[in-house]
């Protein structure tokens, strides 16, 4: 990937003194900054590999890729602890990896193997890692939203100080679940952060055609919570907004709605023929590749060296190779065990 020193669109170039260094970098250790890049690459390479497996006929079902949305996922998760919760969408691979999932087990789940995060029973749309606070991707649009609110309620009752992030897409913002979740969260002042990754299309339906307001964040006012719009391809902006929202939540001041404006360069799913948007539109966003933007920014700010960046890419590459090998070598679950894990009270 060519390096580019172009900063985020609309932002002035970074001054060598770092005087206009985005504030979020003060919150993050150098290791955290590098780890963020690592995770973004991990997401990108995972998605590309998953796509590769799919087109070769090696995987099953369909998949929803989040290529182009890495900064949004990682930007949010960098502000969270392992004990904080996220719920995610059908397009959840990025969130999972951003919350610390390892690619081997993700590949394994993807290929329907017993070693996958969900023992092969969930698949792409339901990947979860409860140990890391990831309550799961969800196949129902808006399905994870009330659940995140519930996790927030639980955190508040247990006084654990945890917050819950509900990732959802622009499509969900017209579901009843969105409205009910925001309302309840607000009325009960729950520590939940609603993060709408507005990639402007719900399948083929653009937000313009589907949503009564111009920005999803405009709806925050209806539920008496702050509505924040950020450039979803700008890691720093996303991260800062999340830190602020998390602090608000932990203080007990209630929820926030963050609208992360981004774009998915691939189709909705593999079956998508992209008839609803133009090649030009896709291409213009491709130039704003969030990973490239981030690499440029942290290098410019002296937070990482070129060599470190190259090393990170190489590490991730090796992880991917190992992960694919692990998944490929793993066994599929036995058909005799089709009803295993339905009930907690079943014999193990």
């Amino acid at each position: 990937m060519p390096k580019s020193k172009t900063a985020s669109a609309g932002q002035p170039p970074i001054a060598p003194s770092g005087a206009n260094r985005p504030p979020v970098y003060s919150r993050l250790s150098p290791e955290a900054i590098r780890e963020a890049l690592r995770r973004m690459h991990r997401i990108r390479r995972f998605e590309e590999s998953a796509e590769d497996a799919y087109v070769r006929g090696l995987s099953y079902g369909t998949m929803h890729l989040s290529i182009g949305q890495e900064a949004s996922a990682v930007g949010v998760c960098v502000a969270l602890k392992d004990s904080d919760y996220i719920t995610s969408t059908h397009r959840g691979h990025g969130h999972c990896i951003a919350k610390g999932a390892e690619v081997g087990r993700m590949f394994a789940e993807f290929l329907g193997k017993e070693t996958g995060y969900c023992k092969g029973r969930g698949g792409s749309m339901h990947i979860a890692d409860p140990a890391m606070g990831n309550l799961g991707a969800n196949g129902i649009v808006g399905g994870g939203m009330p659940i995140a609110v519930g996790a927030a309620l639980s955190a508040k009752k247990r006084q654990s100080g945890a917050v819950a992030v509900s990732f959802f897409g622009d499509g969900a913002n017209n579901e009843g679940a969105f409205h009910e979740s925001l309302n309840i969260a607000s009325v009960w002042k729950l520590p939940v952060i609603f993060v709408c990754e507005n990639n402007q299309y719900a399948m083929s339906m653009s937000t313009e055609r589907s949503t009564a307001v111009k920005n999803v964040a405009d709806r925050a006012a209806a539920y008496a919570m702050p509505g924040v719009i950020v450039d979803g391809n700008d890691f720093a902006a996303v991260a800062e907004a999340t830190f602020v929202a998390a602090e608000r939540a932990r203080r007990g001041d209630g929820p926030t709605l963050i609208e992360s404006k981004t774009y998915r360069t691939r189709g909705h799913s593999r079956s998508d023929r992209n008839r609803y948007r133009s090649k030009e539109e896709i291409e213009s966003w491709r130039l704003r590749d969030p990973i490239l933007l981030y690499e440029a920014e942290i290098e410019a700010l002296g937070l990482a060296t070129g060599a470190e960046i190259v090393a990170i890419r190489a590490e991730v590459e090796a992880e991917i190779v190992a992960g694919v090998a692990f998944a490929t070598a793993s066994k599929a679950p036995s058909p005799d065990e089709v009803t295993r894990y339905v009930y907690a009270t079943d014999p193990a």
Partner: protein, 332 residues
């Protein structure tokens, strides 16, 4: 009646269970519409909000989908919520969360989580609530792997089953027939549980088996008393557990009596009785059937408003007696 068992109404028994559970376990809390200061639409929660506070007895906005999801999210993360739908009919708004989420999360996540949520469902007809407030849709949920579904028919059972449900690590739906709320029965004080997967013999007999659910169990017992006078001994089994169904109990009974009548309030077609009939027909009891399996269920119509129609829409004692007579007389 000894000191530790006294007469309570079904509603009081539920309240007692909730109070015991909340007192014993901080993780238990209630959610529902009008369950706080109002005391619940059927006065089940009563003064629990005064005893446990608004943090434990939470009035929700009218948001069944959101509310159910919140309960599920809380259950996923260490709490034990009990969510009351004001009428089981309203659970339809929350179907997505109940069926797509609660029932499936554990499985989809390969056993990494469980969802210990309880949904309470006031159900059934007989109070003039008409079509949208009187349904018996337990069969819909009994059809879903991952859920546990029960329908206790006595104050004793509802208390014990609710306590068992709250302690159960899986999602449990309890269907409470509205006409039962004021029915009295002996209820032991203190904590006890009733299994969520066992039927209960209400009355032994040898001429036919009547398997009934919820309020139909009481009606079947009444019918059995009438039939006794005619020399027909009906064995009444209160199914109690709808998912899973206690097949061995029904099989054993049918092998003894050779005749089976299923009585349930849900619409007859594709209701609980359809499952029981099929389960018996494919079981060891098949060779012991001396008559077709009969079912009495709800009419193929929405529950009507006019009282006479409302009664005619679901099985009554007289219907049970007539069907049993026919069955026992070899004329089915």
């Amino acid at each position: 009646m000894n000191q530790t068992t006294r007469e309570l109404t079904y509603a009081q028994a539920i309240q007692e269970a909730l109070a015991i559970a909340m007192a014993a376990d901080e993780r238990v809390f209630l959610m529902g519409e009008d369950i706080g200061v109002y005391g619940g639409a059927f006065q089940v929660t009563g003064d629990l909000v005064e005893r446990f506070g608004e943090d434990r007895v939470m009035d929700t906005p009218i948001s069944e989908l959101g509310g159910a999801g919140v309960a599920i999210g809380a259950a996923l993360t260490g709490m034990r919520p009990v969510y009351e739908f004001q009428f089981s009919d309203f659970s339809m708004l929350a179907m997505e969360q109940i069926v797509n989420q609660a029932a499936k999360l554990r499985y989809m996540l390969g056993g990494a989580v469980n969802v210990p949520v309880v949904f309470r469902m006031p159900t059934g007809s007989g109070l003039g609530g008409a079509a949208q407030h009187s349904q018996s849709i337990e069969a819909w949920f009994a059809h879903v792997p991952g859920l546990k579904v029960v329908a206790p028919s006595t104050p004793h059972d509802v208390k014990g089953m609710l306590l068992a449900a709250i302690a159960d690590p899986d999602p449990v739906l309890i269907f409470e027939h509205k006409l039962l709320y004021k029915v009295k029965g002996p209820v032991p004080a203190g904590h006890y549980t009733v299994p969520l997967d066992k039927a209960q013999l209400r009355r032994p007999g040898r001429d036919l088996t009547i398997v009934a659910t919820s309020i139909m169990s009481a009606r079947a017992v009444e019918a059995a008393a009438i039939l006794m006078g005619e020399g027909v001994e009906a064995e009444v089994i209160d199914l109690r557990a709808l998912r899973p169904i206690d097949r061995p109990a029904v099989i054993a009974s049918v092998k003894k009596t050779n005749r089976l009548l299923c009585v349930y309030e849900g619409v007859k077609t594709l209701g609980i009785g359809a499952e029981i009939s099929a389960a018996i027909a494919e079981s060891d009891a098949f060779d012991y059937l001396d008559a077709p399996i009969l079912r009495l269920g709800g009419a193929e119509a929405p529950i009507p408003y006019s009282p006479g129609l409302e009664m005619a829409a679901v099985p009554q004692v007289g219907d049970i007696v007539a069907a049993a007579r026919k069955l026992a007389g070899g004329r089915a």
